[in-house]
Symmetry: C2
Subunit: 242 residues, 2 copies
């Protein structure tokens, strides 16, 4: 039988926030390909003999190019194996999942995608913050902070986002947070706008740091902020617990 | 022992896209409070004797005010029961979950929230569309279409959203879609921008209708569009399958 690749969104970190379909995919896996943000605790439940490939992409550390990950997926599937690609959150939210789907398609390898609980919504939620709330927020914008405002790689218009009226949720934005806050205030967003950074959402180590847009723009990120963190900007951030 | 309320995000409809934690909550429930968009198939697995309260809020049909739902949750919890409030998608994405949390808090009833797979991301994903994709989209905006552009209840700036550079995902926007498309084109968004509407994402009845922003603005929604549907607007919509 031909091999295949199942992309599974692993959720925000708590293994119990994996879907039933995700667990079922893991139960059929011959190979599991994981990285740093995947809920690694679920690997304890794997059958004996399952190969686990760790392709961690640690910022500024060990680096596995996406092409190498694609090659591992295609190679194992071509050997007739069932490959589960387990990621943190959802594969299609800054997970480069579509790149893997396209690489497999190009190599003639069948893929299936199992959606996951995204940290963009769940990390705030587990800290008491709803990304939408009647009367406060009719929508939310999830943005990668890896390219700061002004960075030539940035494809978003921070000026427009500042005025959109949605809750802003920033992922991968610990280092760029002061620049982002500065751009939003410069674009007219109220300096008193509440902001909350959720670290390790849903894990025993969960911590929340609160502040305002103006303070972060002026004085830098809240003390103790470290990645991975999800930052919520907007009136709903006032609901932050702890 | 005191009762409590667990808000469980049920995912986009396929019962297998419920989390393990969601299933565990249902296994402890004395009462399950559901509405129309919850994955009702999971109710088949409930213990004997569990009370199921259906608080369906069908648009323009039978209507249960939010206050009545809050009252059911508080009443059952005060009788010492474990109440699971099961919703479609995630409770904090247009699910009015925070209103229920606040009502319980006011009544002295303890709550817990279990995040779910949101249809805003999963419905596109199951139709082959990634809400983010390297080089195409550095972020996405999820918006409720219940208040059309120009509606005094609308709290978002469609003009700014048109220029933000994020993928737009519209929920509850079947009726307002032509007005939304018109506003985006009027604000300068390219009339050729691809658009895809995903109906019944992840269910056997899943269907995808594709078009462009300009065509929907001019000629109305794609033929056959009916709620509930998730509409994706942006270059990633080109990946739509089927």
């Amino acid at each position: 039988t031909p091999g295949r690749v199942i992309l599974v969104g692993g959720g925000p970190g708590d293994p119990e926030l994996l879907t039933l379909k995700g667990f079922q995919a893991l139960a059929t896996a011959d190979v599991v390909v994981v990285d740093r943000l995947a809920p690694l605790a679920v690997l304890d439940g794997l059958r004996e003999g399952v190969e686990v490939v760790d392709v961690s992409k640690i910022p500024r550390g060990r680096f596995t190019p996406q092409e190498e990950i694609n090659a591992v997926l295609v190679d194992r599937a071509r050997r007739g194996l069932t490959v589960v690609r387990l990621k943190g959150g959802d594969s299609f939210v800054f997970g480069r999942g579509m790149e893997e789907v396209l690489a497999c398609a190009e190599a003639g390898v069948a893929t299936e995608v199992v959606p996951g609980v995204t940290s963009a919504i769940a990390a705030p939620e587990l800290a008491g913050i709803p990304v939408t709330h009647r009367g406060l927020s009719q929508g939310f914008t999830v943005i990668s902070g890896h390219a700061a405002p002004g960075d030539p790689r940035s494809t978003v218009d921070w000026d427009a986002l500042a005025r959109g009226g949605t809750t802003l949720v920033v992922l991968m934005g610990v280092e760029t947070l002061p620049a982002i806050a500065g751009a939003l205030v410069a674009a007219g967003r109220d300096a008193d706008t509440p902001l909350a950074c959720v670290m390790d959402g849903g894990l025993p180590t969960q911590a929340v740091l609160s502040g305002t847009l103006g303070a972060v723009a002026k004085d830098g990120p809240p003390d103790g902020l470290r990645p991975p963190a999800v930052t919520v900007i907007g009136p709903v951030a006032r609901f932050a617990a702890g």
